[in-house]
Subunit: 289 residues, 4 copies
């Protein structure tokens, strides 16, 4: 028989969870989407229909709820580590497990100048993320941000690039730069101030984007990564994916008007996509996914 | 021949526009999506292929850009009125035109404690909207909010409802209430502090949602509408659409755990949908769409 | 107090249902999404928090499942009528109810040249729809199609249109015409061959789109409507919404190439939107929504 | 300085292209979305803002159109190979390029029993895909299918699985199995009957899904992979991603009804996700992404 089982994994996606923690003077809210992936010895299930090694994905879902009842889910990195360890311990056929969590962010509704005790307003499409990969040998923790949409109306150009016979793009020293930042970074070890670090990286992304004079998305991504690596000793590397959400200058000349960088049309497609990893020197980008 | 042309309209949808206004010390940013609808005498186009009355939808798009170059687009209500008048004046076959605008909201990135002069961060999925319907006889202006997502962890119940043979829902005096508010309201006249009113309505929606003791989504919607009508003389009516974004209590008993309103699973479907209009007494809900 | 309750309604959206009917030699499959809307005397719920007239939306969902167990759901028009009548009978405060159903379509997987007995392949993004509006006085039935995407590579032009100072669109006698047809039509009465009529209307839409020489989307929409009205006596009117999914000719001249209507870029936004109703003469377009 | 540039790449996403090929008796239609990724020596752009090695992503887009004008785009594998070679030849800093193409599929509208010469109907949400990765050393070609949605109403069970303290799932010998197959496979070499192979793999996926008695999604995925490897000598490996689109049995007992596998509710989240690779023995799953 010429066919053999190669790489395989299975799990549960999009397990949603809202957890309310009831303090005397206020409620705290956590709103998560969890995914679980198992890797290990599942050949018999694939080849023979023997499910004895297979924990149902329904049980993975139950586990998220049961562990969320008994333990905090904030910060998400610690909850993901807890889930990973639980699954490794209970499932000998497992060689590795990957837990992903995406957190929807909420702010308290201000009432009479004060944040309300139990009413919240969605903080938007941005997500705090984590990805914990655990094997019998150790554990790797990533944190990240998804959907951080930023735009600057000047302080960005693109010139001096390679031209070939099909290049028609004019050089520009002043354009709109808009992107939806997706960042992910890996920690050296496990003793991290998770939420403070996350907030600090987020602030550095925003400030670097705002203040850097950008000659290209590549340079901006690199500058962000460099700032993060230089500021946070605990981070091994950071990877940035920054689509170029083009805002094209509208040609107003047919209407007898001059467009002095005032009127733009944003387009979703096509779009540039720039991805760069900045690594602490001596560090490595090796990762399990 | 038994067939005749009935109601018809045409236009352009999803005309996107970013306008940068360059002041000495800062840039202002407006990010809009515009739609245009024409109604009028277009029978010849439909029945005979005679396009002489048909302004191309491509020209509608051009008009958005040309008028945005020569005039402010903030507040969106005034820009929509300007577009509506322009189209009525230039197109005698038109009986009416409807302009819709959805505004993406941005906040300035804070750098060193101050809002940056030209760098912005998306304020999320919420949209400011307007809808201007103009005929040869007059003009109607609606303002609105879309995608205002709110959640409260207590202060909401649902009991005393009608039960039939298929009703299984238990009564509750304490549940999560979550919704994505879509609001639209109509003004009496045209001399309105558009942006201040919009911000005031938004604040009332948030505060009423947070503080009202809710016996049903219907009652909350009505309370919000009532607060708005009582606070803003210029508003004839307000309509609220509030889907019930159910957060279901997870049954933890199979795991030997008690769920004291702590662990919930949010579900997108199915969902309740409550729509209510609150009208200034003596006013009317009549509108052209 | 200046505020009064105006128009209001409530219901359940996105109730999904798969029904398997087990015949001896094959299984039949129906895959539906149902929505329910109640209108009536719900003032006490809104104003006073008195829920005695309010049937929970959760019960609406239960009702879909219970009635689907005891009765066929195919054709969807009959199932929607059954649901509407059930709710009117059991809820005296109701003045009207609207049932909407969207049906996902499946085809049997061919195996060895024959359609399989119980295995199916999604027929795509197109949906069969119905909308039944029932009051104490009577019932109105609409059927429809959503998401019928069609494209023709020739046989379409656009010329002779109104030009103003901002018109830059060139006339064309040969362009790509692409659209996503949404059609809805109303029946005179209730004794209809629902599925045969639906299939016949769909066929007429496709054939008219394919064969008509199109001077505009308006004319094509009208021609489709006319063909339907002339062919199906039981239909009072048909409404067509046809966005113009523009396929723009790519300018290849900068590369020294001539584009003889060969290379196009489809764009999602902005897009034209044409909506037309064709009415049986003597008929009316009046409808409850 | 502790930070260094690690992995990086850039390119253009979502370049859409419709190509019409005009034969005497009919038009052929191709509808593609192309993405391009460059990897190579771009350190100066990131670190120094020196763009001399950077071909604009706008030029990548132009290249798609210019090459589509001068060469066939069908089959997509050959067009992707052509694009990859073009970019490698013209850009010495490039170490590798990856071209991805997703093809929207269309069928001819039947008119009077015959397929129309130039009018088409979308074949649905399914996509034909390819991914060509080329370096200075060689080229790797993947083909694939995305969005192939299938469902069987019987012939599927799930039993004998691992149970832990949190497992509540009952065993079943008869359930609905529904999934959205994503398949990708790699070829040994370049002399392939691309379209015939693609159609053959698609047919095997459908037939195996329909006829195999499924004890788990894992076993079904493996059976599909095995059938493909055994039938197509030119394929090194095939990877299948099959989310379990759960159709849950509705509990009708509260209404005094028995649900004999008739009434189901499909849920989008959470969902199981099974991924498996089947490899020709002696082959390898190594790939560049």
């Amino acid at each position: 028989m010429p066919a053999a089982l190669g790489e395989n994994r299975y799990g549960k996606s999009r397990v949603r969870l809202v957890r309310v923690t009831r303090h005397g003077d206020r409620h705290d809210l956590a709103d998560l989407m969890v995914s679980i992936r198992f890797e290990g010895d599942f050949a018999a299930a694939h080849a023979d229909g023997d499910n004895r090694h297979v924990l149902p994905t329904d049980t993975m879902k139950n586990t998220v709820y049961a562990l969320a009842k008994n333990h905090p889910v904030d910060p998400i990195e610690e909850f993901a580590i807890r889930l990973a360890r639980h699954f490794l311990e209970g499932n000998p056929p497992l060689s590795g497990v990957v837990i992903g969590i995406r957190e929807n962010l909420w702010t308290r509704i201000p009432v009479g100048g004060s944040p309300h005790r139990h009413a919240f307003n969605s903080a938007g499409a941005e997500r705090r993320t984590t990805r914990v990969a655990a094997t019998r040998d150790g554990i790797t923790v990533h944190s990240g941000i998804d959907g951080l949409v930023v735009l600057k109306t000047t302080g960005s150009g693109f010139a001096g690039f390679h031209r070939d016979a099909l290049t028609t793009l004019p050089e520009t020293s002043d354009r709109i730069l808009a992107t939806r930042v997706r960042a992910r970074w890996e920690y050296w070890g496990g003793d991290v101030a998770w939420s403070a670090t996350w907030a600090g990286v987020r602030r550095l992304i925003l400030e670097t984007f705002a203040t850097q004079e950008s000659p290209s998305v590549q340079h901006t991504a690199h500058a962000i990564g460099q700032a993060v690596i230089e500021s946070f000793d605990g981070i091994r590397w950071i990877r940035l994916a920054m689509p170029n959400l083009h805002c094209l200058l509208v040609d107003l000349k047919p209407f007898g008007l001059e467009n002095r960088n005032e009127i733009f049309v944003p387009v979703d497609e096509p779009h540039g996509l720039i991805e760069a990893t900045v690594v602490r020197q001596g560090g490595s980008t090796a990762e399990s996914a």
